[in-house]
């Protein structure tokens, strides 16, 4: 599947997980795309960890505000009814369980809900930024990522990279599957539009429990 198409499927499917009134923090990259696919009639409130709620679309060219960026550094807007606060309050909101869902990418995620998404020793050490707090603090942690990286599984029996957080992931959404992290292990709940159970198994290192009510992803 073409990369752009895969990312669109993921973003659309993630969007359907979000409920009206949810406070949501979207990570940089693919997760940010989710905002474009929120269904009609659903209003979510985006939190930006650099200090506000009510994050709106990226600024139009020429209308940038030098004092208003998202956590990725892009010039953005704030919606009416939003509010600014300092970084301590921003992370009080995050760590205090006031964010209903966070959507983040992953380098690796495993059977126990462990997540690695912040560094590759010796290669990429950008820092964890707000990711560790988000994953620990948000009520629901959704991993939005392509199912494999260069053909290699990212959903593993056990993460090998340094963890972002232990046992915090709730749901994994890829272009091939929706997988829930449960106490019994990873449960395959939905298949992507072009995927079979065998495809998913072949591209997943972790064991998968097939849900009794396995469905096709609706996007």
């Amino acid at each position: 599947m073409d990369k752009q198409r895969a990312r669109e499927i993921i973003a659309k499917r993630v969007a359907k997980e979000l409920k009206d009134g949810d406070v949501v923090n979207l990570g940089i990259g693919l997760p940010t795309m989710v905002a474009n696919y929120i269904p009609d009639g659903i209003d979510i409130i985006l939190q930006s960890e650099n200090g506000f709620i009510g994050l709106g679309p990226v600024s139009k060219s020429g209308e940038e505000d030098k004092d208003l960026i998202n956590a990725g550094g892009q010039p953005v807007t704030i919606k009416p009814g939003g509010a600014f606060f300092d970084s301590a309050t921003s992370f009080a909101i995050i760590r205090g369980g006031h964010v209903d869902a966070t959507v983040l990418g992953a380098l690796q995620v495993d059977e126990k809900g462990n997540l690695a998404n912040w560094m590759i020793p010796g290669k990429m050490v950008p820092g964890m930024g707000g990711a560790m707090d988000l994953v620990v603090g948000a009520k629901k942690v959704i991993i939005a990522m392509e199912h494999t990286a260069k053909g290699k599984p990212k959903i593993l029996k056990e993460c090998t990279l340094p963890l972002t957080a232990a046992g915090q992931v709730n749901l994994i959404i890829t272009e091939m599957a929706v997988i829930e992290v449960t106490e019994r292990g990873l449960v395959l709940k939905e298949l992507g539009p072009e995927a079979t159970i065998e495809d998913v198994k072949a591209n997943t290192e972790a064991d998968l429990i097939i849900a009794d009510d396995l469905k096709k992803m609706e996007i």
């Binding site: 409130i45 009510g54 009814g81 509010a83 992370f91 909101i93 205090g96 369980g97």
Partner: protein, 219 residues
């Protein structure tokens, strides 16, 4: 941002059940949600655990709940202005737990901010130490103080928009903003209700995501 948060004072009081833990904002009655308190007195909800800075005066604000014997336990920093609280404590009718004001504030904040506790030098060498863990850091002792949560927080704002964003006025702010972060359900009594967008996002003190319901106050 689609939910209508405006409810009547009767609806507000219906959320408060016998035996619940309730935080109420205010300092000697200033900044307390008097209309909700009066409705609570009228309805006679009982066996409440009250978390507040003080118990005001017998005829004022929180003080009325004491006089009306609706409180099973008081957690406060000061009860000296309401003789009835002292009488009930002395005669064993009401349990009173006294906490240094700064520790009370910090414990409430810790609950809202998702902290497991905070270390404070306040109370070391006093009766406040009793039953608490002491932790030494660089040769100095601190008390480990735990988060303080409530089922419901009743707060009062000068100006509240329909999103629940709150602007407080003068010293009526006091405990209201931190209590708004530390309870499962938060109801704000608004002196003035304004349209979304009428409070500058830079001047919002309590972001609307913390507020579940708004009651129109009397002023």
């Amino acid at each position: 941002m689609s939910k209508n948060k405006l409810i009547s004072v009767e609806q507000a009081v219906d959320y408060i059940k016998d035996g619940m833990t309730v935080m109420i904002g205010g300092f000697l009655g200033v900044g307390s949600p008097n209309k909700i308190i009066d409705a609570l007195v009228k309805k006679g909800v009982k066996d409440l655990t009250l978390i507040a800075n003080d118990t005001a005066f017998p005829e004022v604000a929180i003080g009325k709940l004491i006089v009306n014997k609706q409180i099973k336990k008081v957690i406060a920093s000061h009860i000296g202005t309401n003789k009835e609280t002292g009488r009930q404590m002395t005669e064993g009718e009401t349990e009173v737990e006294l906490i240094p004001q700064g520790t009370l504030a910090e414990r409430i904040r810790a609950a809202g901010a998702g902290l497991g506790g905070i270390l404070t030098p306040t109370g070391i060498g006093t009766v406040v130490e009793e039953g608490k863990r002491k932790i030494e850091i660089d040769g100095k002792e601190y008390l480990l103080e735990l988060p303080l949560k409530a089922d419901i927080a009743l707060i009062k704002g000068a100006k509240v928009d329909k999103n629940g964003n709150v602007y407080y006025r003068n010293s009526a702010r006091n405990f209201n903003p931190i209590m708004a972060m530390a309870a499962d359900l938060v109801i704000v009594e608004a002196e003035e209700i304004v349209e979304i967008g009428e409070i500058d996002p830079n001047e919002v003190i309590t972001p609307g995501i913390f507020v579940d319901y708004i009651v129109r106050g009397d002023e």
